[in-house]
Structures are given as structure tokens and as C-alpha cells.
């Protein structure tokens, strides 16, 4: 083999470059395989009978008529399947009442959550029975034939009602509906700062429930192998690895006999970061019948059976000097958890708990959250999870402070920013931020939107009494991503670690397989991971294949959520590449007949120092490692490495989003004139993908601010239960936005990356609502609840005028 290797051209560097996605060819040609595309021989269909009532005692469930229907294979009540469950559905993050990190005064309240309810239905949509038929249509017919005898109970729907003394209990054994009260910080010290403060701000914000709505609903297919006691389950999930261990426990299936596959998954946004009743039910039915089964969620079913997001009421307080320098932040939350705990329901507020001071330098910090059970669909992660709520509270409150002290919102922020830092810095909530330059990002955002120009136009419109007023909204955010390290998660009572894993396999033909523990569903990991591997190993991007989402292929992993994949899984991959190179260096040195220290990895190959044309590439070394004809002593054949990365800290992406809106004071309509997003997600692997994440995140944030809200009636029926009644914005409602970046490399990991998946959704809502309130400030409007629909805006204007509201 040749020992002369060409240096790669600049074009062969992939990280940071505009590489097109590897995932696209199958997605643009209809060749992708989503769960509903899977058809197995002998497969039967599963349907779930769901409670018609929000709260009702179940006297009886009669499936006999359904069983008699032609084409029906089986029908089961909850009681019929009860013996299938070895354990209840999992909650991985049970939070107890305590003052973090010290006092703990009671055990966490964990509601019993079985895949099918047998005693009481606790929300409209709670699963009560299962029908199995030989066709999709047959299931729909059979569902109608199951008879449930309900004894309706008073439903507990609103937070204040749920926490009232003597309220009907969602879970009888708890007696009341309080889930926990969890607090952080020295309440007395913070109170002193409030007592001493020249200015205090006290605001209340409500975050309506949101329905995540990935365009692919959930779905499950199970193939049982009865003779072997084995099962393969395909699920539209973000978390195949977490599903494997928890479903094994819930079903009593040895973990070694359960394989979970997340095939192509059509979006998740947190709603597929869960382990659901239907996954357990399909496994149980497949085990009972010994036949493959399939369940695919209908959209109206998705609205009640898949977790919701938000549902949080905040009291947000700032203590400040006369000039507007914030000295302390106090946030008190009440959170609506719905009827049960899903996978991480009680932990969601804690993901924001440390971030209520945002990017501002404060002394005092206090956070408290009380969670409550209600007779509604469980809430859980929705894009941003806890951090949009925190950012909304601090960024809305900063505008309130600016109004109070008579300063421009930009000036008040500049007065309070944490100064630039490039080494970890402890903040008042106790976190160590990794790196940041918040004012630089802020300045760039204001420059790009022409902030001064907009303020000029705003005052002109006001002076001439224009009915269409201009508003400018600022939002400087910080988030914490890459949930880690594992010891901190232990202190927070999270049930798993924060690590992730990657394996690199260098094949004798020069091709490279990357196996990742992350589980993408639109984020483009196959592309970004191939960029990293190609650069680190000096091989062409096209020669790298990335495998994911199958527990048999990728046994180690913690999956994809919380903008963690690059900052944890990507670093595991980068680190595995270093392990490959450690071994490859020894083989290269042996073949080049020099000492290992005399070999360096440069320009994509191992080269003899001072004689760079004497070199060995990774593909050449992979071939040598495979033939094993001439390996150094004690070196095993093969070139493969695995690395499990447990990050030492979170990462802290940040940025400023600013928007200009026009508000029609006669109709209440809001139009976004310009939106600028400047994000700092650390170093970037694929700028095109990063930009796409910001586009999508901002769209979801605008949707939250202006359009979306889950609305229930007084009986606990979800009125906004379809894409007709729940308003997801289309292309016609959303603007094109300007995106750009600043970069402060993370100090948490060797690539300096931070994460970007949730940034837009975190930043956008306060930018929009601040802009609308800013437009209407001369009319005396100081608060409009989300979503800022024309009706709400119009009512706020009328109310400020002293008219109808």
C-alpha cells in the first residue's frame, strides 16, 4: 500500500460547513419508513376505548358485544389485562416536597398510573378498554360496541380549584390534589432584599396548556416471537432506550428480550419524550394473542391521549434600585400536571427553576413551585420545557421594570446584563454558566433590526394618532441544555443519568459506521454526526453512515430531548473518534516503523513528524487492523471504539430575539413586521441545520404567543380537540425571520457546542408579547395574556380605556 497521502483540501473539512442532509433523499421521495408504514404478516389492529368523562367512577366495562362483531379478534377491559402489568407506567422524575438542596420532608407522591384505568377515569381520554380487529375500519366499528357504566364525579379543572381545601381528589389515596412544593434559594435573605428595594415589580403570567402536535401522530407496532419470549416494538418515540428499560419493567419482559425501534419519526417536540400506555398495551396484547399488532393514533385522539405542555401560573417579582438595577428575583409557580405523572411531568418546572434571573446579574434568588393534579390530560415536556416559562417571566418583568423606572427596555437590560465571561461563572441560582457575552448578542440584534429607527417611527405614529401602532419587543434568553452531570441529576432526583454513548466502527473497505445513542426525529443527526466523524477521522462525509434509534443496533443511549444531542451524544462521538485515533496511531507508527510519539494526526492522516508525505490514513489502518497480518504486539485486531460521555455541566445557549409588530388598535390584530434572532449556541457543526432549528423554534414560539391555547369546557372536555379548533399557524400566518449568530464556545465540552433545538421557542413568546404591550403602552395597556389574539388585544385596549372588557 502506498505511504504517500494527499493532504485534504479545505473542502474536505465538514464541521462548520454547509453540508446538505443525508436524511433527505428518502424523505423527499416517499421512501421513508414511519411506524404507520410498517405492515407485518398476520398483523391485527388495536384501538383504545377512552373515557367520555373527565372524572368518573367505572362501575363496569362490558366488551362482550365488541367480541361478537365480525372481524374482531379480541377485546379486553382494563381488568382483563391487569395481570399483564408487572409495574405501573414509569415516572422517571418523582419530585417531593422539599427545599433544594437541603431539606426533604416527605416522600414523593407518585400516582398509580396503569395502562388502562379500572377504578376511576381521571381525564376525558383516559384509556379504559382495548379492542383488536383484523382491519383499521373494524377497530373503529368495534370501539362503538364497548359499553362502559360510568358514575360521573365532580371534575377538578382549574389550579385554584384543585388546590382548594376539600376539593374532590383526582387520586383518592392522596386525599387532596397537591403534588409537591419544591423551593430553591434562601427565602428570608431574598425577602430582606425586597424590603430594602426602592422599586418592586409584581406580575402574574399564565401559560396556557399547549398541544404539541407533531404532524406524525404516535403509533406502535409490536412483533412478538412467542416461542422465544421475545418482542420487537416499533414506536414513534424520541426515547427508544428509555422505552426499552421502562417497558421491560412494566411488562415483566427481560430487557434482553425486548428490542425497541424508533423508525423514521415525524417530529416530537417533547410529546414523544415519553413512555405511553399504548406501548405497554400493544406489547400486552401481542403477548396475549401471539400475533403482531398495530395501533396508530388519530389526531383527535392525539389531542387528549398525548401529553400537553405548559399549564403554569406564575407570580414573578423583581426587587430593584431606583435606577432599575435588579437586586433580587422571586418566582412562585403553580403547575397543572393533569391526571397522572407521565415520564418527566413533575420535573418540567425544575428545568426552568434556575433560570428566572435570565441573563441578569442579581444577588438574591428564590424559586418555588407547587404542582397540582387536575382531571385533564397529563402535561409533560413541550419544546423548551420549563425554560420558555422562565424566560417569559423575566423578560416580561424586565419590561415592566423599564416602564416603572421610566427607562427604555434596552437600557434596563444593558444596566443588568451579566458581563462577558469565558470561564464558568456561578450565578445567584447556584448554576455555573459555561460562557457568554449577552450584551454583544443584544447589540447585534438591535443593530440588525434598526432599533433606533423603529423607536423613531413608533413615536411618529403615536404623535400623529395612527390607529396602527408600532411596538418593539426584546427578549434576551438563556437556557440550560445537555441535562447533566449524572451526580447533579441524582441530587434533583432524576431517575437516570445524563450521559450518552457513541461507537465508531472503521470497516476494512474504508467505510465508517457511527452508532449513536441519540434518537433524532427531524434534527439531522445522521448529517451532523457524519460531519464530525469525517473531520476527526479524515474520511469523506459520504463514507460515513450513522445508525440510531434501534436498541439492538445501539444498545447504549439516552435519546433525544432538551437540546442535548450534540452537546452530549455529539461529544461522545467526538471522543470515540479520539479513541479510534489512539489505537490507529500505534498501528500507523508500527507500519511506518517509527515510535508512536513521532507520528501526528494532521491533514486527515497519521504522518511522520517532519516527513509529512510518509503517512497512513484511517482507511488504510482499518484494513491493516482487519487483516491483522502485522499489528504491534498486544494490539487487538479491528478498529472500533465506544465512548460514553457524562458531561461535567450543563451547556447554556443564549441570545436575543427582537421583533417589531404593528397593532391595529381598532381590530386588535397584530402583524409581525420584522423578527431578528441572534443566537449563541457555541460552536456550530452545520449552520444550515442550526438556522432551520431556529426557524422552527421561533415559529412554535410565535404560535404560543399569538395562536395556540388548549381550551376545556366546564365538564373537562377539550374543546380545541382537532387541527380545526386548535390553531396551528400555517405559512400564511408566519413571517420570514432574520437569523444570525454570535459565538462563545462552551467550556463544558471539547467541541465548545451548546445546543439550539429549543432556543427559538424559548425566546419568541416574550419578544412578541413585549412588542404588543410596548405598542399599546400609550393607551395604558400593561398586560395581555397569551395568546395575544385580536380579541384579547382589543379587550385589553377597551379595558385600559375604561370601556368594555
Amino acid at each position: 500500500m502506498t505511504e504517500t497521502v494527499q493532504a485534504p483540501t479545505e473542502a474536505q473539512r465538514y464541521v462548520g460547513g454547509g453540508v446538505l442532509r443525508k436524511e433527505d433523499p428518502e424523505l423527499i421521495t416517499g421512501q421513508a419508513q414511519f411506524v404507520d408504514d410498517i405492515v407485518l404478516p398476520g398483523m391485527v389492529w388495536v384501538g383504545i376505548v377512552r373515557s367520555a368523562y373527565a372524572h368518573a367512577r367505572i362501575n363496569s366495562v362490558d366488551v362482550s358485544h365488541a367480541r361478537e362483531q365480525e372481524g374482531v379478534v379480541a377485546a379486553f377491559s382494563g381488568a382483563d389485562l391487569q395481570e399483564e402489568w408487572a409495574a405501573a407506567l414509569p415516572c422517571a422524575w418523582p419530585i417531593q416536597t422539599r427545599s433544594f438542596p437541603t431539606e426533604t420532608d416527605e416522600e414523593a407522591r407518585l400516582p398509580s398510573h396503569w395502562p388502562l384505568a379500572t377504578d376511576k377515569a381521571r381525564f376525558a381520554g383516559d384509556g379504559l378498554a382495548v379492542v383488536v380487529a383484523d382491519s383499521r375500519g373494524g377497530v373503529k366499528d368495534a370501539l362503538e360496541l364497548v359499553e362502559v357504566d360510568y358514575e360521573p364525579l365532580e371534575a377538578v379543572l382549574e389550579l385554584d380549584e384543585a388546590l382548594r381545601d376539600g376539593a374532590p381528589a383526582v387520586h383518592d389515596d392522596f386525599g387532596d390534589n397537591k403534588a409537591y412544593t419544591w423551593s430553591l434559594g434562601d427565602g428570608d435573605a431574598v425577602q430582606r432584599l425586597f424590603d430594602e428595594a426602592a422599586v418592586t415589580i409584581n406580575e402574574r403570567y399564565w401559560h396556557p396548556r399547549l398541544v404539541p402536535n407533531p404532524i406524525e401522530p404516535r403509533g406502535v407496532v409490536v412483533q412478538p416471537f412467542p416461542a422465544m419470549g421475545e418482542f420487537t416494538i416499533w414506536s414513534a418515540t424520541q426515547v427508544p432506550h428509555i422505552a426499552k428499560i421502562t417497558l421491560a419493567l412494566s411488562l415483566g419482559i427481560p430487557e434482553t428480550k425486548l428490542r425497541v425501534i424508533a423508525p423514521d419519526v415525524g417530529g416530537g417536540f417533547g410529546s414523544k419524550l415519553n413512555v405511553y400506555a399504548e406501548e405497554a398495551i400493544c406489547l400486552a396484547v401481542a403477548r396475549r394473542l401471539g400475533r403482531p399488532v398495530k395501533w396508530v393514533e388519530e389526531r383527535t385522539e392525539n389531542y387528549v391521549a398525548t401529553t400537553h405542555g405548559r399549564g403554569v401560573l406564575q407570580e414573578m417579582e423583581l426587587a430593584a434600585t431606583e435606577e432599575g438595577k435588579v437586586t433580587a428575583v422571586r418566582a412562585r409557580l403553580t403547575a397543572d400536571f393533569g391526571a397522572y405523572y407521565q415520564l418527566v411531568t413533575p420535573g418540567i418546572p425544575l428545568l426552568g427553576a434556575f433560570l428566572y434571573a435570565g441573563v441578569y446579574d442579581v444577588q438574591g434568588y428564590f424559586f418555588e413551585c407547587t404542582g397540582a393534579f387536575t382531571n385533564k390530560t397529563p402535561t409533560d415536556a413541550y419544546r423548551g420545557a420549563g425554560r420558555p416559562e422562565a424566560t417569559y417571566a423575566i423578560e416580561r418583568a424586565m419590561d415592566a421594570l423599564a416602564r416603572r423606572v421610566g427607562k427604555d427596555p434596552a437600557e434596563i437590560r444593558r444596566l443588568n446584563f451579566i458581563p462577558p465571561f469565558d470561564q464558568p461563572k456561578e450565578v445567584a441560582s447556584g448554576l455555573q454558566f459555561d460562557s457568554g457575552d449577552y450584551e454583544r448578542t443584544f447589540d447585534e440584534a438591535l443593530r440588525r433590526i434598526d432599533y433606533e429607527g423603529l423607536r423613531g417611527e413608533q413615536s411618529e405614529r403615536r404623535q400623529r394618532g395612527d390607529t396602527k401602532l408600532l411596538g418593539v419587543g426584546l427578549s434576551s434568553y438563556i437556557e440550560m441544555c445537555g441535562l447533566a452531570p449524572s451526580q447533579v441529576l441524582a441530587a434533583l432526583k432524576y431517575g437516570a443519568g445524563g450521559w450518552d454513548a457513541a461507537t465508531i466502527r472503521c470497516h476494512p473497505t474504508g467505510k465508517v459506521t457511527v452508532v449513536t445513542g441519540t434518537s433524532p426525529h427531524g434534527q439531522g443527526h445522521a448529517t451532523s454526526w457524519a460531519q464530525i466523524a469525517a473531520d476527526e477521522l479524515g474520511v469523506p462525509f459520504e463514507d460515513v453512515e450513522v445508525l440510531h434509534g434501534d436498541t439492538a443496533v445501539s444498545p447504549l443511549g439516552m435519546d433525544t430531548y432538551g437540546s442535548r444531542s450534540l452537546a452530549v451524544g455529539g461529544i461522545a462521538l467526538w471522543s470515540a473518534a479520539q479513541r479510534i485515533k489512539e489505537k490507529a496511531r500505534l498501528i500507523a507508527a508500527h507500519e511506518l516503523e517509527v515510535a508512536p510519539d513521532d507520528v501526528e494526526f494532521a491533514d486527515g492522516a497519521f504522518r511522520v513528524r517532519g516527513v509529512p508525505e510518509r503517512a497512513k490514513t484511517i482507511p488504510e489502518i482499518a484494513f491493516s487492523a482487519w487483516t491483522a497480518h502485522n499489528l504491534p504486539p498486544e494490539i487487538e485486531p479491528g478498529l472500533e471504539a465506544t465512548y460514553v460521555f457524562d458531561p461535567p455541566n450543563f451547556t447554556f445557549p443564549s441570545g436575543t430575539h427582537v421583533c417589531a409588530v404593528e397593532v391595529d388598535t381598532e381590530t386588535g390584530e397584530v402583524e409581525i413586521l420584522k423578527y431578528v434572532a441572534i443566537d449563541d449556541c457555541g460552536n456550530v457543526v452545520n449552520p444550515m441545520i442550526v438556522e432551520g432549528q431556529v426557524h422552527g423554534g421561533v415559529a412554535q414560539g410565535i404560535a404560543e404567543a399569538m395562536y395556540e391555547e388548549a381550551i376545556y369546557d366546564e365538564q373537562g372536555q377539550l374543546l380545541t380537540n382537532s387541527m380545526h379548533s386548535y390553531r396551528i399557524p400555517s405559512a400564511a400566518e408566519l413571517p420570514s425571520i432574520v437569523t444570525d449568530r454570535t459565538t462563545t464556545p462552551s467550556t463544558t465540552n471539547p467541541m465548545g457546542v451548546k445546543g439550539v433545538g429549543e432556543a427559538g421557542t424559548i425566546a419568541a413568546p416574550p419578544a412578541i408579547v413585549n412588542a404588543v404591550v410596548d405598542a399599546l403602552t400609550p393607551l395604558g395597556v400593561t398586560e395581555i395574556g397569551k395568546p395575544v389574539t385580536p380579541e384579547r388585544v382589543w379587550r385589553a385596549i377597551q379595558s385600559a380605556k375604561g370601556g368594555a372588557s
Binding site: 446538505l20 442532509r21 436524511e23 433527505d24 433523499p25 428518502e26 424523505l27 423527499i28 421521495t29 416517499g30 421512501q31 421513508a32 419508513q33 414511519f34 404507520d36 408504514d37 405492515v39 383499521r136 375500519g137 402536535n213 407533531p214 404532524i215 406524525e216 401522530p217 423514521d264 419519526v265 415525524g266 417530529g267 417536540f269 388519530e298 389526531r299 383527535t300 426525529h521 427531524g522 434534527q523 439531522g524 444550515m688 441545520i689 438556522e691 432551520g692 426557524h695 422552527g696 423554534g697 421561533v698 415559529a699 412554535q700 382537532s722 387541527m723 380545526h724 396551528i728 400555517s730 405559512a731 400564511a732 408566519l734 420570514s736 425571520i737 427559538g760
Partner: protein, 158 residues
């Protein structure tokens, strides 16, 4: 059961269908053309958009029997493997695809829009796509891709 003859992507298929069978399930389950996805069952999301006699329809709201004697084009009939339609290429090159679940419907809706209008403005694309929801991309790159493909297709025709 009713007997129908439907030409799909240029191939004539004769089949027995239940009167209630939706076109989308005829395509997906009887013909195995799973590129057309189902997102909402209520004609809102547009993931199931196909062309019926050259015009976009939502295949979850058309019965198979209504398609009898007519021509259907799905994403599989558009182009594949090395011979991509300009819209498919533009969706790839403009990063208009994330999870990809809405993509086939989005491309078919865009094709119909271009067929109707020729070259398009951003506003026409945005209004024309009102019936197709995407939850990942914020639509910005989808709009870019369609504008680019529209220019390319109208230039090719001129």
C-alpha cells in the same frame, strides 16, 4: 364492495374497495404507496395531499370510489433516486425538510400551486400553502424552495 379502476402514477389498478375506503388508505394499504402520510384525519394538515387529475386534493377526504376512472399522482410518481423533480431537489438544497412527515404532501401541494400560477411571489406561496401544516421548519425554507422550483419550472417552460 365496489369495483374501481384508478390510475396511480401512470399504472392502472383495478380493485375491490369498501364504499367507505378513503383514497389515502387505498394508496397506502392496498397499493403499498406509503409515501403519502396521514396527519390529522380532518382535511387540515395536508400531509396526505396528492394530485387527482392534476389538481391537489387531500386524500384523507376523498373516497377511493370518487377516484374511480381518474388519475392520481403521489410523491412516488414524481421522481426518485438520481432523477429528482425540481421541487424535490429544491426541498433538499434549501433545507426545507426536517422530520419530513409533511414533505410529500407539501411537495404535491406546491406542484399543484406552480401548475396553476406559474412563477410565484412569496405571498402567493404562503397563501397557497395555507392547507399544509409543518411543525418543524417554520415554513421559511419551504417557501424558499417552492419559489426557486417555480422559477426553474416556469423558465424551463418558457
Amino acid at each position: 364492495m365496489r369495483r374501481v379502476a384508478i390510475t396511480v402514477n401512470g399504472v392502472r389498478h383495478e380493485a375491490e374497495v369498501e364504499p367507505r375506503q378513503l383514497l389515502v388508505y387505498f394508496l397506502r394499504e392496498q397499493l403499498g404507496l406509503t409515501g403519502t402520510n396521514v396527519g390529522c384525519d380532518t382535511t387540515t394538515c395536508g400531509a396526505c395531499t396528492v394530485l387527482l387529475d392534476g389538481r391537489s386534493v387531500k386524500a384523507c377526504t376523498v373516497l377511493a370510489v370518487q377516484s374511480d376512472g381518474r388519475e392520481v399522482t403521489t410523491i412516488e410518481g414524481l421522481g426518485s433516486n438520481g432523477d429528482l423533480h425540481p421541487l424535490q431537489r429544491a426541498f433538499h438544497e434549501e433545507h426545507a425538510v426536517q422530520c419530513g412527515y409533511c414533505t410529500p404532501g407539501m411537495i404535491m401541494a406546491a406542484l399543484s400551486l406552480i401548475e396553476e400560477h406559474g412563477s410565484l411571489t412569496e405571498e402567493e406561496v404562503r397563501k397557497g400553502l395555507e392547507g399544509n401544516l409543518c411543525r418543524c421548519t417554520g415554513y421559511q425554507n419551504i417557501v424558499e424552495a417552492i419559489l426557486r422550483a417555480a422559477d426553474e419550472l416556469t423558465a424551463a417552460r418558457a
